[in-house]
């Protein structure tokens, strides 16, 4: 039938292409000619063949997809591929809160807070969540009061299961826990000898296979094909094997995931040791917790975990290890750098900046646990990990928008709101993380694309630093703005909000309120250089150079050439306090011909001075401290020395210092994060003007 050279091309998945391939094949014979006519019997047969081929090809394609981590779609396939990389996908993690728990009127000598003691949270969106202790704690009773200073409680419903080991029916010693939302960090596995011998041993999760031997009491954990969890045991080579009659008892907490985040007030359900007169003080609100790791996250994390090999050596290793912590902390961003890169190099330390999800900084406990439980076990022995808080630089944006009323039916308020949304959205994608760049052009473009009616727009940017001054001890604060700053005069330069209170150093009982920080307008210092603009002619002797201006102490000398013109003028002393400097060149009295030499002076612009001021009872601006700090305009650094207010006049006690950068491209590196404060009503200001016609 078919010619010797004809081949069926079967590389396509599309039905019509397959059918056309079959038709092309049939063209090479002349027994059956009616393949092109839809009504023919041959066409019906081709349909069946093509459909069958397409069905098989699709099926094989899906099978092949599931064989690779990159293309697998089913969770069970992804999990199984990840297992080859020794990666156990993260389970759901319970939100975890910390409380101080006091039991009153206790008549015993000691009191035990049992495992799975249940607390009920306040209502969150109409639901009260169960929180439980995951370990038993015993404390001594003193004065009829038992104090549990820190009790960690996790959200979830406690549950337990027991399995009797039977090598005939379950020769692989694999046991299924039929829960998809269990928090595996709460999983506890006990193996009881037998139903008659109730002594038991605690098995822990196998983490490092190098240290396992035939007597290691470990279990292995994996996510099973249906998203529940399997535990299985050793083979007497890697981990101790179970024996017939053993009873495996597992207890765990099944969590509702992230819903209970933020719970902070709890009541005890029932009693502890028969006592129900209790006091609960919240220490830290429930963490975010997390839902079960998504397929995308597994695909992303598994190869990285594999390449890190449970060792933190490179920057990426650290980031992976920290992101994959099993403490239940979730982070928006992690940045790591070597101490040698610091402004003041610190050798032998690796610096880690972490921006936690839903908070600005980590708590001291969280930092401690990250260092001891997560980073230290995998980092190089001689390298000391140091956690630093993110250093937030807040951006205050003012956008001026000009729009054409004829091109839109939106009101100016609607345009204003749309522009604000566009700015917030772009900020959410571009900023708020480490190593990000703020560019005013991006924002200008985003605003321009809001509506066709927007003719033009401009953005002005201010940078803010917020910090909590120490109200008891005067301290030094260094604020890195990360961009060169503009030299300001009076209110256009550095400003601070809110006002602060100081004690009058001359009369400590006298409190001065309403104190602000500003730049000293005449803080320009001395001369940087003098440039010759006209060398003049005929100088027989070196002329005298005098610096005139409002400062003091600047001196310079001229150098003349053998032809009698001025080659250069060198600054000898920079002087101080100049805002303006004029270079006067006076020929030597004995010189009869020298004339016309002229030069200009450049003032030192790098550093400025900050001062504090207040308005006194007669509303007269009074300088309180003339040198409270310095400002480095080039590096964008403000330093406050011995800054010791006794009160900051807002609820938070937070002081904000605002400056204006000379550039609108601001990059963050190391631990710096550029962000827009969502709680600041002035963070994004949009002024909309209709174009007058």
């Amino acid at each position: 039938m078919a010619g010797a050279n004809s081949q069926i091309q079967m590389t396509d998945l599309d039905f019509n292409t397959i059918k056309n391939n079959l038709k092309t094949f049939l063209q090479s014979q002349d027994t059956l000619k009616d393949y092109n006519y839809e009504g023919s019997a041959l066409s019906t047969l081709l349909d069946v063949l093509a459909y069958n081929t397409q069905y098989n090809a699709y099926y094989l394609n899906m099978v092949a997809n599931e064989m690779f981590l990159d293309s697998a779609i089913q969770r069970s396939s992804v999990v199984s591929q990840a297992k080859l990389l020794n990666y156990i996908p993260k389970s759901s993690l319970s939100p975890e809160a910390t409380i101080r728990f006091v039991v009153n009127q206790v008549s015993d000598a000691s009191l035990t807070l049992p495992k799975f003691t249940t607390f009920m949270s306040e209502s969150i969106d109409g639901v009260n969540y169960n929180f439980v202790t995951t370990d038993a704690t015993t404390v001594g009773v003193s004065g009829n009061t038992a104090i549990f200073p820190t009790v960690n409680i996790k959200q979830g419903i406690p549950s337990s299961l027991s399995f009797t080991v039977n090598s005939t029916s379950n020769p692989k010693y694999k046991f299924n826990i039929p829960e998809t939302n269990l928090d595996t960090t709460t999983l506890q596995v006990l193996v009881q000898q037998s139903s008659s011998n109730t002594s038991y041993q605690i098995y822990t999760k196998a983490e490092d296979y190098l240290i396992l031997d035939s007597s290691s009491l470990v279990y292995f954990l994996q996510e099973s094909m249906d998203g529940t969890y399997d535990i299985y045991f050793g083979d007497n080579i890697l981990g101790k094997q179970l024996t017939n009659g053993n009873i495996v008892i597992v207890s765990y907490v099944v969590t509702s995931g992230v819903d209970a985040a933020g719970a902070n007030n709890f009541v005890l359900m029932g009693s502890v040791g028969g006592y129900s007169n209790t006091t609960i003080t919240p220490i830290s609100a429930a963490t975010t917790g997390s839902v079960k790791e998504t397929i995308d996250s597994i695909k992303f994390q598994a190869p990285k975990a594999y390449s890190a090999q449970k060792r933190a050596v490179t920057k990426e290793d650290y980031i992976t290890v920290i992101q994959q912590n099993n403490l239940g902390y979730s982070f928006d961003a992690v940045n790591v750098w070597g101490g040698q890169e610091n402004f003041t190099p610190v050798y032998g330390q690796v610096f880690i900046a972490i921006k936690p999800a839903g908070a600005y900084t980590l708590t001291a406990t969280q930092k401690q646990r990250l260092i001891t439980d997560v980073i230290r076990p995998v980092s190089v022995m001689t390298v000391e990990p140091t956690l630093v808080d993110p250093d937030y630089t807040y951006i205050q944006l003012t956008a001026n928008v000009l729009y054409d009323t004829k091109k839109t039916n939106l009101t100016s308020a609607q345009i204003q709101s749309a522009v604000k949304t566009a700015i917030s959205n772009l900020a959410a994608t571009n900023l708020n993380t480490f190593n990000s760049t703020f560019s005013a052009t991006d924002f200008t473009n985003a605003i321009a694309s809001v509506s066709n009616a927007i003719i033009t727009n401009e953005i002005t940017v201010k940078l803010q630093k917020k910090f909590y001054p120490n109200l008891t001890t005067p301290s030094t604060y260094t604020l890195y703005y990360g961009a060169p700053l503009e030299r300001g005069m009076f209110q256009s330069g550095v400003t601070s909000t809110p006002s602060v209170q100081f004690r009058n150093p001359l009369n400590l009982a006298n409190i001065i309120d309403g104190v602000y920080i500003e730049e000293v307008p005449t803080s320009t210092g001395g001369l940087e250089s003098v440039a010759v603009i006209n060398p003049g002619y005929g100088y027989q002797f070196t002329p005298t150079v005098t610096i005139l201006g409002d400062g003091t102490g600047a001196t310079a000398e001229a150098v003349i050439t053998s032809y009698g013109s001025i080659r250069a003028i060198n600054v000898l002393t920079a002087g101080t306090g100049y805002t303006i400097a004029i270079v006067q060149i006076t020929p030597d009295p004995a010189d009869t011909t020298g004339a016309l030499g002229a030069a200009t002076a450049t003032l030192i612009g790098r550093y400025g001075t900050l001062r504090t001021y207040y308005n006194d009872s007669q509303n007269v601006k009074t300088v309180f401290n003339n040198t409270i700090g310095t400002i480095d305009y080039v590096e964008g650094v403000i330093t406050l020395n011995s800054f010791g207010p006794i009160q900051v006049n807002n609820d938070l006690g937070q002081l904000t210092i605002t400056t204006k950068p000379t550039t609108t491209i601001i990059s963050s590196s190391y631990n710096r994060v550029i962000t827009i404060d969502p709680y600041d009503p002035n963070a994004i200001v949009v002024n909309v003007t209709a174009k007058s016609t």
Binding site: L32, K33, Y37, A41
Partner: protein, 130 residues
């Protein structure tokens, strides 16, 4: 039916075998086209995989009350169907005669094919089968 050369050849839907060669029986030219037309008439829309337009809604009409108007509608449907999907048949006439007593329509289609001097007439009885 006088054919000079067999220009159309198709598998016979009866799938009988030729007595001598034991190969599958084929149908040729006018017979092949007639079979094809019958096949098209018996195909409803969406019957064919990935080709929902192929076929017609005639089967549905068989469940309506028999009337000459309906017969006219069927004629135009059949004409359109053959024109669209059976380019081999140059239609001369389509007659649909209602058979009220047997609850059926008698369809008589006359057409020319290439290489044939005389028209071919094929008769199909359309009746509902449930």
């Amino acid at each position: 039916m006088a054919t000079i050369n067999k220009i159309y050849s198709d598998i016979d839907f009866t799938f009988t075998k030729k007595p001598v060669t034991a190969d599958i029986a084929l149908s040729y030219d006018a017979q092949a086209v007639s079979r094809s037309i019958r096949n098209l008439l018996n195909t409803q829309n969406y019957d064919r995989l990935f080709n929902p337009d192929l076929g017609s809604q005639i089967t549905g009409l068989l469940f309506e009350n028999i009337s000459p108007i309906l017969a006219g509608t069927m004629e135009s449907i059949i004409t359109n169907l053959i024109t669209a999907y059976e380019p081999r048949a140059r239609l001369q006439s389509v007659r649909v005669s209602p058979q009220p007593d047997s609850n059926a329509y008698n369809v008589s289609i006359t057409f020319y094919i290439e290489n044939a001097t005389l028209p071919t007439t094929t008769t199909i009885l359309l009746e509902r089968n449930r």
